[in-house]
Symmetry: C2
Subunit: 405 residues, 2 copies
């Protein structure tokens, strides 16, 4: 029989998941309580309040979807989009394609605009498309790890209000490590995951929903037979095709009615709560500044090694950098060498970038000076073995300069 | 700000979730590794092998759905059922209604048969309905915690084969504590959860899929744009409406292709793996016998207190008993007293049984003599405070007799 779980020591410096903060893992080892225990419902309420701070929102409907970040995305789209609804997806990387794919399965009429990988959209490009498509929902990724780009969002809320469009944002890769203002930016629905800048494991998807999005979703509410209050009738909107990801039901589960839906994934709740506590304790601004600092150190470090960086660096997320693989280096073999000999994981790439760039992350618990420097030191050794021309000590030296300045 | 997680001590003797086995919580505190790390993919393969033992199957496709048990149910139904397909659901409690509700959302043509709560179906009743409805899928719950009943399944596989019907079973509440034979009984898809007899937290849904069900599901496979192999085309069947719960994609993620889908919920995987290891280490037969023993002790214990038991006890699950609330006792207030004064949780009930019965569980880590005896001792004190006529020591005494025999 397989032995007890005993993972090898790894420093996870890819685009996520990264090492969980030990405090999150300790929180997750706490014993369970019943799902309607007053202590449990109080913990759920505390978790809602904490995520309001993380998303920077006053939205009452701020809670967790019990699944990975992808479950959060699908919950948002399947609950907002009725068949035939128009949705506009600006695609600037793999996760834009994912939004498209999920929206298609909702039988929405999906319209996309695209920029080449490594770029982002201007507000004008988005508004032109909104004017042309007249969508019910604009669905956009903030940070797409496939390209490392971080889409500016500050103007999109106003555009959406002007054209009476709901604004959905997938902030999985960026939240906690890059500026994000759900209310100031006029977001209607935002979803995330724990495994990036939040420093936890995958498996819980924080979500926040504006009042007007709540109205849209509740307009489709069909309470389960047997849970219905006397005289309660179905809302007029088309029933949401998923039960598990039906946000109208999930809101009634987290809300004062506490209507039975799924059995809350308590251990993931403990972890999600601790992730938010860590961020709130540090201060959101301080956490974002930390990600900016260590991201800058890694960026200058790989440049100091003589490597080229992919994409529009001015619009890069703080927490990940795409590094062009030097000529003569087999990217996947070099990654394996780094993992096997040094215990450090960096990321490969998808689609058009596969074999061309590595993705190196500095996020969550691993947005730390020692993690940055040890990664640069080991990378130098691996590249040296391939005969790549480089400046000895150039990576660590450049990063140290960032820290010193 | 909210403080660190610090749950009150609770002995969870309801219908689940119950206290997690401390070994499971310890496994879940292990640090993460990358999702394509060779150690991680090996751990995923080990988990698949362990759950083949738990389900008693040789099915290659045996893995975890990243969500609660309800996510597993929906993954099975949405992946099997195309719009317009006929499905037959024998309903003998709340979770039969849930299967119906989820199947309706898949836009299947749903047919039900029902027995009163507290009873199960005969094989003849099911076969008659199969003959009449001619469904593509027979979807049935094994153990419905709402009534405590355990539906006999041994004959259903043969009936389904005879009528060319796929057999899906929700074994969430029963697996690990009651006999279950996926292959011998001719199951096509079976789903479960960790929070009942498996002794873990909610949040991961083990699933097993027979070869013929794999063919049906793969007949609907649409690989995501950008992940498609050269020349790979979509299968002819209608695309599955969920991306997150698309088992065709999830199989490619767990299989040798390791096609990117969700980011595995690593901590839940560690927990699920440890739950299965505990069961396999104890031996499935021994674990079922343990649940039978402690369930019998609890049954005789509540009878020894002078309480009546609800339903067809001959068809009760080993791991939960429904106890009629004595006249003059406010069921919910008595439950609160047990929780507040003794730290013991027992369950309330749904629908037609609400306010009429309590549900008391003896499952997973809490299928133990001390847990049974302390619950009976405390229950006696609570009932005494209500002036319920009872035999002092009658509950613990009757349970001790079961243990002595």
């Amino acid at each position: 029989m397989s032995g007890p779980i005993n993972p090898p020591p790894r420093l996870l410096m890819g685009p996520g998941p990264i090492n969980a903060d030990p405090r999150v893992l300790r929180a997750m080892s706490a014993q369970l309580v019943g799902q309607y225990d007053p202590w449990m419902t109080a913990s759920m309420n505390e978790t809602m309040a904490l995520y309001r701070e993380v998303f920077r929102t006053a939205n009452e409907q701020t809670f967790l979807v019990d699944g990975t970040s992808r479950a959060g995305i699908e919950a948002a789209l399947v609950s907002l989009l009725e068949p035939g609804d128009r949705v506009l997806v600006p695609v600037f990387g793999r996760f834009g394609h994912l939004l498209t794919e999920i929206a298609e399965r909702c039988r929405a009429e999906v319209h996309t605009i695209e920029v080449p990988w490594g770029q982002v959209f201007s507000a004008e490009q988005v508004e032109d498309a909104v004017r042309r498509v007249r969508p019910k929902v604009l669905a956009i990724v903030q940070g797409d790890t496939s390209t490392t780009m971080c889409q500016p969002l500050a103007d999109l809320g106003e555009i959406c209000r002007r054209h009476d469009v709901l604004l959905y944002c997938d902030a999985t890769a960026s939240l906690g490590g890059n500026e994000f203002e759900a209310d100031t930016w006029g977001m209607d629905v935002v979803t995330a995951g724990l495994q990036k800048c939040l420093g936890g494991p995958s498996g819980s998807a924080p979500i926040t929903i504006s009042g007007r999005a709540v109205d849209v979703i509740d307009g489709r509410k069909h309470v389960e037979a047997g849970l219905r209050a006397d005289g309660e009738t179905d809302a007029p909107g088309e029933r949401i095709v998923s039960n598990y990801l039906d946000l109208a039901q999930v809101m009634d589960y987290w809300g004062p009615r506490r209507l039975n839906h799924h059995t809350e994934a308590t251990t993931m709740l403990y972890g999600a709560r601790e992730c938010a506590r860590l961020l709130v304790e540090e201060g959101l601004d301080a956490a974002i500044e930390r990600h900016a600092l260590h991201g800058r150190a890694m960026l200058e470090g790989v440049r100091g090694l003589g490597l080229e960086v992919f994409g529009d660096v001015a619009h890069k997320m703080h927490n990940v950098v795409a590094v062009e693989i030097p000529d003569g280096v087999d990217g996947d073999r070099a990654r394996s060498g780094l993992l096997d000999d040094f215990g450090i994981e960096i990321g490969t790439s998808f689609g058009p970038l596969h074999g061309k760039v590595w993705r190196i992350g500095t996020m969550g618990y691993n947005a730390r000076k020692d993690a940055v420097l040890v990664t640069l030191a080991a990378l130098e050794q691996v590249l040296r073995a391939y005969g790549v021309p480089l400046t000895a000590g150039g990576g660590v030296g450049a990063a140290q300069e960032v820290y010193a300045s």
